[in-house]
Each structure stands twice: as C-alpha cells, then as structure tokens.
Symmetry: C2
Subunit: 395 residues, 2 copies
C-alpha cells in the first residue's frame, strides 16, 4: 500500500524531520520506504493531507464509555462514589460494547495504540481484537482475588496486537503484600506494571500518615519503581520524588484534561520531570471524567496548562507535546517499532485533512498541536491495515 | 424552512428547556414555531442531530488569519513585536482574504456572530457581507487619526447583518483625550465601546504608575464603564474593580485559550464576576494566539481552567459555560433577538452530528460543552439562511 503525495509528513524520526510532497510505502505491516515517486498497485491519495504517526493514549478505561457525562461537576472522591454505583451495573457484555464504542471514538480521533485498564479483561480483549487496534490491556488489581484474575488473563493472552500489563489500582487500594506480588510478577514476566499515584492531595496525606513516607518514596522502598513501571497522574509529588522516578527510569502518564475537570488541584510538574529526562506520555483517562478520547485535545490542553502554570509560553513547545503523544508514549508502554515514521517501523499511521482550521500551515507541528482536533483525522492505519478511510470506520 | 425531527433541541430559553424529537419552523429570518409534526415544503432532516443556537464569539481579529502559527511560544509583548512586523505587510486586499478565511473557519465551527476588530474595516465588512455572517465590526482606535478612520467607517456603515462598534485599543495605547472622545461618540450614537484591559501584570503596573489608579478605576473615573462597554481579558483586576464593573453594568469578554497560550499568568476572576452578576461572554481572540476559532474548544477550556483554578469541580457548570457562548455573548454585543431558540427570535441556528464523540448522550449540555468540538457542526443557519449544509460551506 502506497500513501502517495502526502502534503506534509511529520516523521517524528530522531531528527524530527518534516517532509513535503512525499510518499510512504507500506509492505505487510511495516514501513518499507519513504521518498518521492514511489510506486505500488494499492494507493491512497494523500495530497491535501498531513501524514503523521498514530497517537498513543497511555491511560484510559474504555469499559466506562457508557458513563460519559453521567457525573460532571463532582470532585474525585464524590465522583468515584457516584460512578462506582453505575459501574456495579456493568456486565461483561456491556463492558465489551463500551470498549468497542470507546475504540471507535479513539480511532475516529486518530489514536492507534491504547493502554486500557479495567475489569472483565477477556471481554475487552475481544473488542480490541474486533477493532484490530494496538493495545496494552490490564485487569485492575486491588487484592488477592483481582491479582489472581489478572494473572489468569495474562497467562491466557495470545494476541498479535495486544500486549498485557499488570495494574495495581493505587497505594491506598492495594495492601503491601499485593503490591509486592505485582512487582514480582511483572519482573518475572518482563511486563509493564502501572499504578495511579498522586492524583489528589488527600491521597498524598493519607499515604504519608499510613506509611510515614511520601507516595513515590514508599513505592521506591518496596521496589515498585523501575524501567517497566508506569506512574499515572503524579500531580502531588515533590522534586525529591521526581529525582527518584528519574533515577529508576520509571515512566509517567500525564492526563491534564481529566485532572483539570475533576479539579484535583495542582499541576503535574511536567517541566521539572522533563528537566530530569523522565519519559512522559499523555493519556485521556476515561470519558467519565474527560469527556472524550481526543488526544489532539489532550495535547493542546497540556500545552495550555503548563504555559499558563509557569507564566512562561516557552515552558513547553509544540514539538515536546507531540513527542509525548507519539514516541514518548511508545516508551511509556514498552512498545517497540511504533511512534514515528521511519523505514522498518510498524505502519501505525494517520492522515489529517487540511480543513479550514488547519489553514494556513505556517508550522505543521503547531498546526497538529494547536489548531487541529481529532475530527480532522481522515485515515487510520494500524499494523499496515486501514481501520478508517476518509472518516469512515471499517469496523 | 423546517428543521424536522431534531433529536435534541438545546433551546437556551429562560427555562433552559431541552426538547426531544421536535421541529423548528423558520419563516423569513425568524423562528416562527417550535413543536411537533410541523409542516413546510423546504425541510432539513435533523434526526440524529442536536439543534442549538449558533455560538457568539465576542472577541477576535480575523484580519490576522494568515499569521496562524507564526509566533508560537512567545510572551505577549514579544509576540506583539513579532506579529506586528507581519501585520505591517498586510494590505486591505490580504486583510479581506484573511477575514473571509477566518469567517469560513468560524462558520465551519458553528459560530454565527462575531465581534471583529482590526484595521481596514471596509475590506473586512466586504468579507462579512460576502459570507453573510452576523457581526459587530470596529476599527481599532489608538489616536486621533485612527479615531477619525473609525468614525468615517461607522458613519458609512449600512448593513443588514453587521453593526458597528468603537474599539479603543488599550489604556496604554490611547491617550485620555482619545478615550474620552471614544466615550462621547459611543454614547451619542448608542454604540458598543470596547477596550482591551488587564491582559498582563505589566500593563497593570504601568497604568498604576502613570495614572495613580488601577485600570478599571481609571476607566471608571473617565466615564468609560457603562451598559454599552465591553471589557476584554480582565485577568489582572481586583474584587473592588469587579464591583465597579458590576455597578456600571459593563460586560466582559473572556478569552481563556489565548490567555493561557500567551501565558499572561493569573486567571480571569470569572467566578467572582458571576457572583456579582456581571455579563460575561467568550471569545477566541485571533488565530495568531489561539490557534483556531473553535468556540467549542473555548467553552471546554474555560470550564477546565476555572474548575482547576478553584480546586472545585462545581466552580462553573456546563450550563453556565454554554450561556456564556450563547445568550450572554448576545448581551455583551448589545444584540437583540439571537442567542436562544425561541419563537420570534432570529434564526441563527446550528446542528451537531451525533458522531462517535457525542455518544452516548447522558446529558446533552455536557455533550455540547465537554465532548463536542467545532467539527461536529453539520449545518449553520444565519438570519434564516443556510451558510453551511452537511459540513459544506455555501460560500
């Protein structure tokens, strides 16, 4: 398959090159060639379009899709209470349907890889396989029973596009024994392990009181941090904790829209994290607190929040933000071979129509981060296969 | 013209009613009837769509459209310097083209009324007339010469859809004599008068040093505040200044995306303004600092910013935000008969496709404010005439 005459190609290669009026040839599921005047029988005309890597959503719960708009204007703990009543009603079948609806929305918005954590993992996996979306799936672990469920799911997982991960809910929701088993299991299987941490001040003080340590210090003390560790939220952490994350090469998922909407207060210290070379990706969190799965919106909101917070328009650049939504997201999820347009990488690609809101293009990275939204996405290719063509989903 | 079988109608009437599966009949340029089983020869099928009032953008500079993405990551004063070099190159013809491009983007995003202030007003008026968009146009006044230009434009302005206004640039850019002439002229002609104020801390301290008064106190002392006064930005103001604005019934245009992107610091005290019953509308400001004209994005960003800022998810509701983008915007611009769907009001209406990101709808106001973006807009009707049909612009 040949993507012909792309008006712009945002490669996200190590040099962050932008190509004009160039072609990308896909063979099997990989990018075979990038250049001009390439030829192939199957061709997609990409003139008037921007080609870029598909976006990577490092944190969501697609199973909650039917809860969109169900509990707006509520604080995290009130929200959790109200939403958990709704969640109790979800069956595996409804969770499958919700996940499929979520995947439809995510792909419509140009996301090609999704980290999804929730209950009923088999039902969710079925939806991922049906949609043919790249994913990382985990069952949320709160205790011995859910740990058992999680291990069972992971041991049975055989998929071309979906990898497994193990997800501890949070320090307050998992006892130390469970957390240690999560660490042990993920290390032995070389799996990603993930945890929600630092979303609210309350959690921070509760942990300090219970453990006598700051949240990240506590996680470090039990061996949770590491290269295969993804920390979600990290709003309420100190510079010392940032240095611990950096020292252990743990990764961070930043979810600004959900954090702002739930009014968790504070701002994740993104600039300080980047100064310490921490790998930070972006995530939407669930539609129950976002209220959509638009990674383009997430990119712009992240930029606005940190420029505003630091009173410094240079605090974060459009290129850094795009990196978080592509190549850095890949690193967060321990995935190889995606996140950029380079020869030999897997073909997870999207095109954007250069519609009114993207005209004129003076700086195509700025256009993608500050002017676009998810509905500009026209075509979505995952693992070399078209999943959306001219804004029509193929599943 | 009959808008048939609208799945949802967000009326924004005084009771803020939501109607299901109802019709709206337009006769000439007004809403003639709202109900069920209405009949007319010309019909638009609105099943699967949300019908709502067109959005009101209370502050932008469409003439700068070609400068989109030209100077990102720069502080206001550096930005002004860099952008003003670009602006110097703009001819009346380019300003006309830019304005028309801006109107295309704005209508594509469901905005039906725009307050636009810039130079070359005749050229911009020509674009508004060509697009058949409702507008308020002013020439920016800095001194005696631009005041003369502005008066000349206003005295010649005869338009069905466009009203005039008079726009003082800012306290620092206009001497007191000019400001007083703006006040006198707008009062005598019953015109809206507008000014940028409180966008940066620097401006605030400069004014305090020059005038010995806070910005709003100074404007009050020379008679600038009043029912026909629109204050743009108002980030750096005190509670005392808020009370002065409220006392004189002046209006405020809030531009959160541009303010955050330029890192003007601080947050406009929206909650405090609403407590004093000040009329606040929303605006995008220009694409050189936004970088688009999406009033849906402006709504969501406004909600996120104030919930976040106040550490309170109840700080502002989706209904209050929608009011700012519709009926309150109308009041800001001293326009009658638009901003809501009621019998007898002018037919400025938009439909949204209930695409993936709007499914499911548990609360249609939440869907419009938190889940939608401007590209969900399908049809746009201004003054009873279709300007966009099924996402295709008719000009």
């Amino acid at each position: 398959m040949l993507l012909k005459n792309c008006s712009y190609i945002i490669t996200q290669n190590p040099k962050r090159e932008i190509l004009r009026n160039a072609d990308v040839l896909i063979e099997e599921n990989r990018i075979a060639q990038i250049g001009k005047n390439l030829k192939d029988e199957e061709m997609i005309d990409c003139s008037g379009k921007i080609l870029m890597p598909g976006l990577i959503n490092t944190h969501t719960h697609l199973g909650m899709h039917s809860l969109k708009g169900k509990s707006d204007e509520a604080e995290l703990f009130d929200w959790l209470k109200s939403i958990s009543n709704e969640e109790a009603k979800l069956t595996p079948k409804k969770t499958y349907e919700n996940t499929l609806d979520g995947l439809r929305e995510a792909i419509r918005f140009g996301t090609t890889t999704i980290y999804d954590s929730y209950k009923f993992s088999d039902a969710r996996l079925e939806a991922f396989e049906e949609a043919k979306v790249r994913g990382v799936i985990s069952s949320t672990v709160n205790n011995a029973e859910t740990l058992k469920d999680s291990k069972k799911f992971l041991s049975g997982l055989k998929s071309k596009l979906v990898k497994g991960a193990i997800a501890a809910n949070s320090i307050c929701n998992c006892d130390e024994e469970t957390l240690k088993k999560v660490i042990e299991f993920s290390n032995s299987k070389k799996l990603l392990r993930r945890i929600h941490v630092g979303e609210t001040r309350k959690e921070r003080y509760d942990i300090l009181q219970q453990k006598g340590k700051l949240a990240i210090e506590y996680l470090d003390s039990i061996g949770f941090l590491g290269k295969n560790c993804l920390l979600v939220h990290c709003i309420w952490i100190t510079k010392g904790e940032i240095r611990k994350i950096a020292g252990k090469k743990a990764k961070v998922s930043h979810n600004p829209v959900s954090n702002m909407k739930l009014a968790s207060g504070g701002v994740m210290p993104l600039v300080e994290m980047l100064e310490e070379n921490i790998t930070v990706g972006l995530g939407t969190d669930s539609v129950a607190s976002n209220n959509n799965l638009d990674m383009f919106e997430e990119m712009k909101t992240a930029a606005l929040l940190h420029k505003h917070h630091k009173w410094n328009p240079k605090a974060i650049t459009s290129q850094q933000i795009l990196d978080m939504a592509t190549i850095k997201g890949t690193e967060c999820l321990m995935l190889d071979d995606i996140g950029s347009i380079e020869k030999g990488k897997k073909a997870d690609l999207i095109t954007l129509d250069i519609e009114h809101n993207l005209k004129p293009i003076n700086d195509v990275i700025s256009s993608a981060v500050y002017s676009a939204n998810g509905l500009n996405v026209s075509d979505v290719i995952i693992d070399g296969k078209i999943r959306m063509e001219k804004k029509s989903l193929l599943f």
